[in-house]
């Protein structure tokens, strides 16, 4: 039972150094059939990197359509059939093959369901949480977890429709806590939540990490991301352009290194609401040079000709010649 992990001795150095999840130089394309039976490959991700350790929350932010949800599907093995994946995805040090993905999905890797409708309407909530618990004393473990997320014990006899939205969210939290999964992927779990519900959801995602799980938190809500994440990965047009420490998101973005990250930060309504002109290109539209150069306010001639490689240091990363 993962809940007891707090009492366990600290994992030894070797295990601590090994990432839970390691995505390296990932690329993804879709085979498309156009009129006239012409086949084309539409590349949507290239040079995508992300690394996650136990007890860590990595927020993934970035442009709409930059490949965030596709990354989640790639890790879970839920891509459509016409998708072609290249590069490395390692889970606990070993490559994630399709067979392994199918085996691990739900068991060791799990997706946080977005909505209330993820619960079975005809099953009492206690039973639903017990269903994901492995081993003996399911009932007792479930009670312990309900306690932890602040659900009264009588809630276990309630059906989902008898609960408020907030309580349902706690049941979802309990389900993720109870599952044996070590890697949790949350794809936009917070849009449309009022401040109260948002706080609850954030707390439970924090609880997951405190209980030893690694969490990938995909969101557009940068303010929330900064409250809970250890580091922030920024995606643009299918590439990781920067992985930054949370503290670097401050002021007018002077500590942020990639021009797109700065633009994202300064576009927040509370930070100036500055709209960077232009739109995110398809990868195929930028044949040469930096993927961001058509919109970059500080580009040079070099940027139009050559693709910048990623530069990494101390868990931070940036893909820009001048950062």
């Amino acid at each position: 039972m993962k809940l007891q992990q707090k009492e366990e001795p600290l994992p030894d150095l070797l295990e601590k150094d090994q990432p839970l999840l390691e995505v390296k130089d990932l690329s993804l394309s879709f085979r498309q059939y156009r009129e006239g039976l012409r086949e084309t490959d539409l590349q949507v991700i290239s040079k995508l990197d992300i690394t996650l350790y136990k007890k860590e929350i990595v927020a993934v932010v970035g442009a709409s359509g930059s490949g965030k949800s596709l990354l989640a599907s790639a890790i879970l093995g839920l891509l459509p059939e016409n998708a072609f994946l290249r590069g490395t995805i390692n889970f606990k040090g070993k490559p994630l093959s399709p067979e392994r993905q199918e085996h691990l999905r739900g068991e060791e890797i799990s997706l946080i369901p977005q909505s209330v409708s993820a619960l079975d309407p005809l099953m009492k909530t206690g039973k639903q949480v017990q269903a994901v618990i492995k081993g003996k004393n399911k009932k007792a473990v479930q009670q312990e977890i309900f306690d932890k997320v602040g659900l009264p014990s009588k809630t276990s006899n309630s059906y989902p429709f008898e609960l408020s939205g907030g309580m349902v969210r706690r049941v979802l939290a309990a389900t993720s806590l109870a599952s044996s999964a070590d890697l949790i992927i949350a794809d936009e779990p917070t849009p449309g939540l009022d401040p109260f519900a948002l706080k609850e959801t954030v707390n439970y995602i924090k609880q997951l990490a405190e209980n030893g799980k690694g969490v990938i938190f995909i969101t557009h809500d940068i303010e929330t991301a900064l409250k809970i994440a250890d580091k922030v990965a920024v995606f643009y047009a299918g590439q990781t352009v920067e992985i930054a420490k949370v503290e670097n998101f401050c002021g007018s973005g002077e500590n942020l290194r990639h021009p797109y990250t700065k633009a994202l930060w300064n576009a927040l309504p509370q930070n100036g609401f500055v709209p960077l002109p232009g739109s995110q290109p398809l990868l195929s539209e930028v044949a040469e040079g930096c993927i961001f150069h058509p919109r970059c306010p500080v580009k040079t001639d070099l940027c139009k000709k050559k693709q910048p490689e990623s530069k990494s240091k101390n868990g931070e990363m940036v893909r820009c010649f001048y950062a």
Partner: protein, 199 residues
């Protein structure tokens, strides 16, 4: 003026009221922000004001005429949170637009819609790109008021700023009044002339 005149609504007869006797006025060209807790009835209100649902009490008036009396194109238009849900996936974008309005080049360029997007299928555009089309669709010549229900919640901050800047500019040009619904207080403070909350 858009007048929400003491409306009440409930989903079932004898069920609980979602809201009672709600009042609100939006002047032409005015931007009003609306916030409220989950389940407070914001989206229900949006649908009633746009004329998709009938209130049990009260009425919605546009320039002193009930919205229900407008035939053909509605003077009050609604933009939703999820653009992909309101666009026919089997139509190319050009057809999606032409279904409701004539192609207005100036509007398209103000909203940052590239001409090559017109030839694409909805699945080949990102959420932000689709949302621009949804906006273009609702901003026909007859639109006097727009209700934006979590319009940019699913979009990145840069796209959000772009779309709001374009919309605010257009609202100024055409004197369109906007009711902006959002949980993002920072956003509402930035764009609105005043904000109200629904309890």
């Amino acid at each position: 003026m858009l007048k929400v005149n003491g409306i009440s609504y409930r989903y079932q007869n004898n069920g609980p009221w979602v809201f009672r006797n709600f009042r609100l006025a939006v002047q032409p060209g005015e931007i009003v922000g609306l916030c409220g807790y989950n389940g407070a009835g914001k989206t229900t209100l949006a649908k009633i004001i746009a004329g998709y649902l009938k209130p049990h009490e009260g009425e919605i008036l546009v320039d002193e005429q009930p919205v229900s009396s407008f035939t053909g194109i509605r003077p009050v238009q609604l933009v939703w949170q999820h653009p992909e849900k309101s666009i026919n996936p089997k139509w190319k974008m050009k057809k999606v637009l032409e279904e409701t309005t004539d192609l207005d080049e100036e509007l398209l360029s103000l909203l940052g819609i590239k001409s090559e997007w017109l030839d694409r299928w909805p699945s080949e555009l990102s959420g932000g790109e689709l949302q621009r089309f949804c906006l273009a669709r609702t901003l026909g010549k007859h639109t006097k008021y727009l209700i934006a229900d979590e319009m940019t919640t699913m979009l990145d901050a840069v796209t959000q700023a772009q779309i709001w800047h374009a919309l605010l500019e257009l609202a100024k040009q055409r004197n369109i009044g906007i009711l902006a619904i959002s949980h993002n207080q920072h956003l509402l403070q930035k764009i609105s002339d005043r904000t109200v909350s629904i309890a």
